[in-house]
């Protein structure tokens, strides 16, 4: 199946990860195992600080697991690669390049297609994400939502096998966020890659997911995997369907448990530390 070759399967096998933050060793992931199926949208949801960004970093290849292994199509993650691209929480667009130049960055860096092909693809993608006419603007001239869309375009043009989204819609106002989620779903449905999405918003998680993984507190592992068997294509009208509400109730209860435990322990559950871990 040609389609399957374009998408990778991500497997976490009893992964453990430790980090040193402010001279204190913290275990972020412990015995974490899960599987992201090909061409499916897996969503990771959990309390803040539970290492979701670390998981993204491990899949992308920016960090290595201390214990266990992270397997892509059965092989260990070699390092950062165009096959696994990340869309970050706060925009990581190159501020000195225009929108268009940002999107062209990947193809030009890898030089795998002719410049003309890349150019056409870039313009096509920009049109698809609705940024037509903005291609000569710098990121500082775009609104938050537009920046995220530009980042999506920048990643998609490289046709990665795994798309990693690290709370990409955080910080956007509610309306923009809903619109972005619909945009993103549309893109996902047309795209053949495996998507891994990280969020801390329950509604967003259920709306997007094929598989929903609820994470525990630090040291994290998958608390429960919920199959979101709502029909695709989806729009926000499913938010009142019975099945949706069932899933939401279950997810909320699991998260509530974790939150209670976190508030009891002496450890302060604050911002996601894994973003600050010192790269070795």
């Amino acid at each position: 199946m040609a389609a399957a070759l374009e998408a990778s399967e991500v497997v976490f096998n009893k992964v453990g990860k430790m980090t040193v933050f402010k001279k204190r060793q913290t275990v972020i992931l412990k015995d974490c195992s899960f599987k992201c199926e090909r061409q499916k949208l897996t969503v990771l949801i959990g309390p803040s600080g539970c290492g979701k960004t670390t998981i993204i970093n491990l899949i992308a290849g920016y960090e290595r697991p201390d214990l266990g292994e992270v397997l892509i199509d059965g092989k260990k993650v070699p390092g950062p690669d165009w096959e696994r691209l990340v869309v970050f929480q706060e925009t990581a667009l190159f501020p000195w390049l225009t929108c268009y130049e940002n999107v062209m960055f990947g193809p030009l860096a890898r030089q795998v297609m002719s410049e003309e092909t890349a150019h056409n693809l870039a313009l096509g993608l920009l049109r698809k994400v609705g940024l037509e006419g903005f291609h000569d603007k710098h990121p500082s001239q775009l609104s938050g939502g537009m920046q995220r869309r530009a980042e999506l375009a920048r990643a998609l043009i490289n046709q990665p096998k795994v798309m990693l989204m690290d709370e990409p819609f955080r910080g956007l106002d509610a309306m923009t966020r809903k619109l972005m989620q619909e945009y993103y779903l549309k893109l996902f449905e047309e795209n053949n890659a495996t998507h891994v999405f990280v969020t801390s918003e329950v509604d967003e998680a259920i709306f997007l997911a094929d598989n929903l993984m609820v994470m525990t507190n630090r040291p994290s592992r998958v608390k429960k995997e919920i199959q979101v068997d709502l029909e695709r294509p989806r729009d926000w009208s499913i938010a009142t369907s019975k099945r949706y509400l069932e899933i939401k109730a279950e997810a909320l209860e699991l998260l509530h448990e974790e939150a209670l435990e976190a508030s009891k322990s002496s450890e302060k559950v604050d911002i996601d530390l894994s973003g600050f871990s010192q790269a070795s």
Binding site: G61, Y62, W82, V86, A92, F94, W96, A109, S140, Q141
Partner: protein, 270 residues
Amino acid sequence: MTTAGYEGTQDSMFLKQLKKTFLDWSLFRKVMSFVLFLVAWSLIVIAVDYFQQIPTPKAVLMALFDIPFTAILLHIAKSFFRVLAGFFLGILIGFPMGVAIGYSRVLKCLIFPAFEMIRPIPPIAWIPMSVLFFVHIESQIVFLTFYGAFFPIVYNTMGGISEVDIRLPRAAMSFGLDRKRMLMKVILPAAMPQIFTGMRLAMGITWILVVAAEMMANKGGMGYYVWYNHTVMDYPHVVLGMGIIGLCGAICSIGINAVGNYFTRWRRIF
């Protein structure tokens, strides 16, 4: 519109516009600032009369018409030459060094501690060493300006490079950029604002050093001009010299700012 409370809106709006154009209080005060300055200056002259040598504003103005035109231009040129030579030398040597130190941890540990030991020594204190080591006075002075420019450039370049948001090079790595190209295409552009801060600082310091050095050496330049007039007690020309030096320094600052803004124009857009 004649709703209650809005009556006469048209008139007062017009009046407001009028007032804004002609009666800008803020601008007025700014002009008064200079007037006050001149007044205060004159008062000081009257009050402090040890030798009655302090020139009044008027005396300085008179001296303006009195300056030896070509001689002054020569002095200015000499000062500019020394400043720019030292400054560009500082960039030539300091910039690559800053990049190397910022990029490679090994190099940083090898070079940085030595720098930190030398840095507290004020540039002026190097004058005797410079005089010993260099034969020509010009090279002595240029060494000084170079030294003054060197440290801000190195430190700010190093800072700029090591403080680039780590997600940018990570994204670049994912897109398939190798380390060498990453430096040119990602890290340097991201570090530009900080690098130019260093250059601005360096420019300021070079002017201070040039003036001091020229006051001690006897080889022309605006600093020499000021000191010479001091020794012959021609104070209006001293003040004039100060003003000219200030002007030159300001021109250089504006120049550097303009160049810096050009290279970081993606930031100014908003």
